[in-house]
Assembly symmetry: C2
DNA sequence: GTCTCGAATGTAAGCGCTTACAATTTTTCA
DNA sequence: TGAAAAATTGTAAGCGCTTACATTCGAGAC
């Protein structure tokens, strides 16, 4: 305001911003008609509509969000709580998610949980309080009270990044366990027996657990014992990946391959390998998971599991919109395919 | 909560969700008192407050966002429109921005413009329509009508990623021109004369223009002619960086250094150099800008300009909160320092 | 020409909250 | 001890919009 209000002439602008009532008066119709023009144009006669829209233009009218939300009992907003925005793991999917929502006139609110359940709960409540019509969550695992809370408030939630038909909630994602199983099978096929693993903290992270589970599955399937895994658990970050890798390399016998829970950890591991003067994959192989952009930027490029980020984001949006529209029952879960990207960091074991 | 709802008696739950009035009734006070308990607890006597908060707990009450926004005439939301979420350039700053906002009870809404002015304008209007109390924008350059619109609606805006005291709007950022000048000076000092540049499209991007300007400044200062620059303009992406680099390498004389407008382009360039069998920095040097995570993940690590992403995000949040609180006049602009990170991709010219 | 019916529009009741103002109670202090 | 000041609470008027319902009008049907 301020400036603009100094020009008295122009048009009706009693106070600051034009309201529906101002538009109605300007166009010589009732507020109901203006509202209908905006929300259900086909229910208004053409010439009336044109007059109203002209008034909207002229007054620079734009509806008040709060009022609309209050009266309509929905906000046209969906929320997403992702663990972090700091690395690129979720960026691409969220971007696609948002693009698709936008195409349907829905706004996205993003919050981060920092991989901490209590912060996630807080954020869920915050987003619901802000009127999110639906929520996108990462992973199934959370306190049942949260699901009850959402149900009570009538806020449908979709779980992404996992596919588990047995979980009680609709999801869109892939089978982390199976994907990691496949990758590990390939690793073993190349002859690796001394296998190191860098995983995210498994406690509150079902994806991380599933991925480790997949590694174990593959070992068992190959007649190996999962007990022989050299496993390090660490937070997700390049720096932690570096340190975890260094720790693994100090073990005896030294692992010939390090399977990382995601590409960020793998990038850290790769960097540390270089620093330690280890040749990849000659001295040690490294694999990641996610196939984010850095996977092909590092040298050698990272062998990893490709995840269809954009497809997941886009379809998540469609499902969520459908859930909101249809009054929020459960959609069926959707499974997306992952596939191996065999690149330079994986080779046969040394020696 | 949740559990309790299965007991029908228990407490008032006429319809679905508890309202302020329900809480008031439950606690035997007026709605005003409940409202005060939530918004200005110190204005309510301790024992009353406790009774009210107990009722809030018991009913699982959470305020209706729309109603609150409507009545209070503000939403506790600020919006940020960034060019893209697809790469990491803005991620870290936005993350810090959000963390700081959250600490003050403010919610962040993020939208992307895809570097397109018309989409940016649309997103600005959308965020304002959704009740953003203030906006964070990237770069000064945009249609003056947009600034007028914001002023008219009383929505303060802060410009980030640039520092230009002469621009008409408060900003927090750094001097892109000066920073690139310094980097280029170092490049020239090493003996480079055949300089290639990969820049983002300059038309709608004042940061890109300023960075190119800085390169020219440095050349002039060294007695070189900016006309001799081999300059390629391209969208921001790894793939475009690759192609632009290949194009530059076909020029004669071939540049001995390629200065990239940001790290993403530089990462692409570096990748292509490897692919073309060119040794970096032996055959050609490459520099970036921003110092995002990939800068140290690639090999050799990228010489670049370090930008204080997190500090910028955090301080932007503080400024914006202050602008909202103080009724939205202009804060003074804040300049942050950048500094050179000389790493492996920059060396003396070949031969 | 009258009647019926549907399309177009208007009327007005909230949606759930904040807050100015009024009413009441408690403190403070001479 | 009593009046004024301060603290606490209540009353009620909106905030700007949507929407159920009522009203009006015109076009066929008879």
């Amino acid at each position: 305001m301020s400036q603009g209000n100094d020009h008295p002439g122009q048009s009706d602008m009693t106070a600051g911003v034009a309201t529906l009532a101002d538009v109605a008066e300007h166009a010589q119709v009732s507020t109901a008609t203006v509202s209908r023009c905006l929300n259900a144009p086909e229910r208004v006669a053409k010439h009336t509509r044109e007059r109203v829209l002209a008034a909207v233009q002229e007054l620079g009218y734009s509806p008040n969000f709060g009022a609309r939300a209050l009266a309509a009992r929905r906000t046209g907003t969906v929320g997403a709580i992702i663990p972090t925005m700091d690395n690129a793991i979720f960026a691409r999917a969220i971007q696609a998610f948002q693009e698709e929502l936008r195409a349907h006139g829905v706004t996205l609110l993003v919050a981060c949980s920092a991989y901490r359940p209590e912060i996630e709960e807080e954020q869920i409540r915050a987003l619901v309080a802000r009127g999110a019509d639906a929520l996108l969550l990462i992973g199934h695992q959370r306190d049942d009270a949260i699901y009850q809370f959402l149900e009570r408030r009538g806020v449908p939630a979709l779980v992404a990044w996992v596919h588990d038909p047995d979980a009680g909630h609709p999801s869109i994602g892939f089978d982390n366990r199976k994907a990691m199983h496949e990758l590990t099978r390939e690793v073993i096929r190349l002859g690796h027996r001394r296998i190191g693993v860098i995983t995210a903290e498994q406690r509150d992270n079902d994806r991380a657990r599933a991925r480790v589970g997949g590694i174990c599955d593959a070992m068992l399937a190959a007649g190996l014992s999962p007990d022989d895994l050299a496993l390090v658990e660490t937070p997700y970050s390049v720096e932690h990946g570096r340190q975890a890798f260094a720790r693994l390399m100090r073990r005896a016998p030294r692992p010939g391959v390090v399977i990382c829970g995601n590409d960020v950890l793998a990038a850290g591991a790769l960097q540390m390998a270089r620093e330690m003067g280890l040749h990849v994959p000659g001295d040690v192989s490294i694999t990641g998971f996610d196939d984010i952009e850095i996977a092909t930027l590092v040298d050698p490029a990272l062998t990893t599991v490709h995840v269809p980020h954009r497809a997941m984001g886009r379809q998540a949006a469609q499902l969520l919109i459908e859930m909101v529209r249809s009054g929020a029952p459960l959609a069926k879960s959707v499974e997306l395919k992952t596939d191996l990207r065999l690149r330079g960091t994986l080779g046969p074991p040394p020696g």
